[in-house]
Amino acid sequence: MRRHFKAKVIDNNFAAESFKLITLSPASEVSVPLPGQFYMLESGRSTDPLLKRPFSIFRLNDGCLQFLYRVRGKGTTSIAGFNRGDFINVVGPLGKAYPDPEGPFIAVAGGVGIASLYSLLEKKRGKAMLFYGARNVRELICFEEASKLSAKAFSTTDDGSSGVKGLVTDKLSEFIKNEGRSMPVYACGPHPMLKKVAEIAKHNNLKCYVSLEEHMACGIGACLGCVVKSKSSAVEYEYKRVCKEGPVFDADEVLW
């Protein structure tokens, strides 16, 4: 099983304005990824952009790896330029997966954070209470499909163009308060959202797992570029590698 392989681009189409879905067919036998793990994808043929870019596994589909990504800077712009039939270099699966929820669970996705949670919803079909926030309805990608995979699903948007207008964390608070259920929380999204989710979970005594992001060079634990401050019994704090000890962390471990 190779963790560094070439893969053929099967498709690389827009899923929404500025969001693309790339489907890759590995050229050799590769490991099966677990929900929450990620891959480093080649960002182009030349040395600019230079580094690979990290993306959560979105779905495994017919032996193909799918990634849902937002076209942002020069790396993702370059990846958006790959055509069907091109071969690209891939490293993965990498990092720690979400621990398997035993029963029903809460999933909180902020924006493209849905990419990291989607395969967990698929795996635990009908078990999730999904909270999915985005800027507007256009950026609420595959909400319908995700809803079908969930027991319940709520959406929020900044502009009210779908679901409740406001923050996904407010909706989450409200839900927990009203329904008062004791389920573990799984979250992926922007840092401020994760911090808030962690607070809500702590306040309600819920177990909470967050998937973090940091600038990465290697993705395999060698460069120490991607660290986050985390609690340590011995010293004031300790730096853990998002790519190796993460990207999924117990929210309690993180020094927010």
């Binding site: 963790r3 990465m216 395999i220 660290v227």
Partner: protein, 304 residues
């Protein structure tokens, strides 16, 4: 055709081939064992070590730049003790030389660190990173000040019988002269170049992107500067030189060897291609076969 000879000798240290990994880009080796057989390498140079563990800098620690990257890891490391106890046993499994990169905040720390590492089984050579500030003497960077540099090398020299490689900073006016100082102070070999100090500013936030403000530039962007500096170093000293800076493939490595380096180190390339260092070894073989040269030593220093 008979396989060409790739073995080189660095101050008594016999390498099966001239390809090493650059410190800080290969962890403690184990991170890469999933990607290729570490026996393929001439030597593994581990992440810089200090007597006690270091937490390193706050994040962001890295940022990409055109054909390069800046890093400000801040020398985070597990400390010599833990390295010897927990990492070295793994590395001893391989028939590949292990070079311990190390640093200190003071001359005494350098010497003590060298001493501790020399006693460990399975460390074959030491590489001194002198691109660090001297805490005791006004934060002068050891490797950019001739006097300070001479002192720290001379003292450290006395504390180890292992081959001592001094890693030169490129943030100087005349790197050849600095190499000469290292040679005279007792270095068995020099390596060059370490990263070039740089900065990237986030124009919306009016802030440096790196929490540490500045970082070290590495990758292909610096290769032309590195080749020039290694060439200058090779002309300045008689001790062996290890060349590095932006090596992505065998052709890049050959530039350094032709300029006079006895060995090369692959750094940032490991991040982009986890088997980059092993690929360089293969590429060198192919090049020699293609050119009908039977020994890599016949290529070294052949610049016309």
């Amino acid at each position: 055709m008979i396989a060409p000879n790739l073995a080189v000798d660095i101050a008594g240290l016999k390498l099966k081939n001239p390809v090493m990994t650059a410190s800080g880009t290969f962890g403690y080796g184990e991170e890469y064992a999933d990607y290729f057989d570490l026996n393929a390498l001439g030597a593994i140079v581990v992440k810089g070590l200090s007597i006690t563990p270091r937490t390193g800098n706050p994040t962001p620690r890295i940022v990409e730049t055109p054909s390069g990257m800046l890093n400000a890891i801040g020398l985070q490391n597990i400390g010599v003790r833990t390295f010897i106890d927990e990492k070295l046993p793994f590395l001893r499994q391989f028939d590949t030389k292990v070079i311990a990169n190390f640093f200190g905040d003071s001359i005494e720390e350098y010497a003590e660190c060298a001493r501790m590492l020399s006693d460990a089984e399975g460390v074959h050579a030491l590489e001194m990173n002198i691109s660090c500030p001297n805490k005791q003497e006004g934060w002068i960077v050891f490797g950019t000040d001739p006097m300070t540099m001479d002192k720290v090398i001379s003292v450290t020299r006395k504390s180890t019988a292992l081959p001592l490689i001094v890693k030169l900073s490129p943030n100087v006016k005349d790197i050849g002269q600095m190499a000469k100082i290292a040679e005279n102070a007792g270095a068995d070999a020099v390596s060059a170049i370490n990263t070039i100090t740089g900065m990237v500013i986030d124009v919306r936030k009016r802030m440096p992107v790196l929490a540490n403000k500045t970082g070290g530039l590495s990758g292909p962007a610096i290769r032309p500067v590195a080749v020039r500096m290694v060439w200058e170093v090779c002309r300045a000293v008689k001790i062996p030189v290890i060349g590095m800076g932006g090596i992505m493939n065998a052709e890049d490595a050959l530039q350094f060897l032709i300029a006079g380096a006895r060995a090369v180190a692959v750094g940032t390339a490991n991040f982009i291609n986890p088997s980059a260092a092993a690929d360089v070894v293969e590429g060198l073989k192919l090049f020699l076969q293609d050119e009908g040269v039977s020994d890599i030593n016949e290529i070294i220093g052949t610049l016309r």
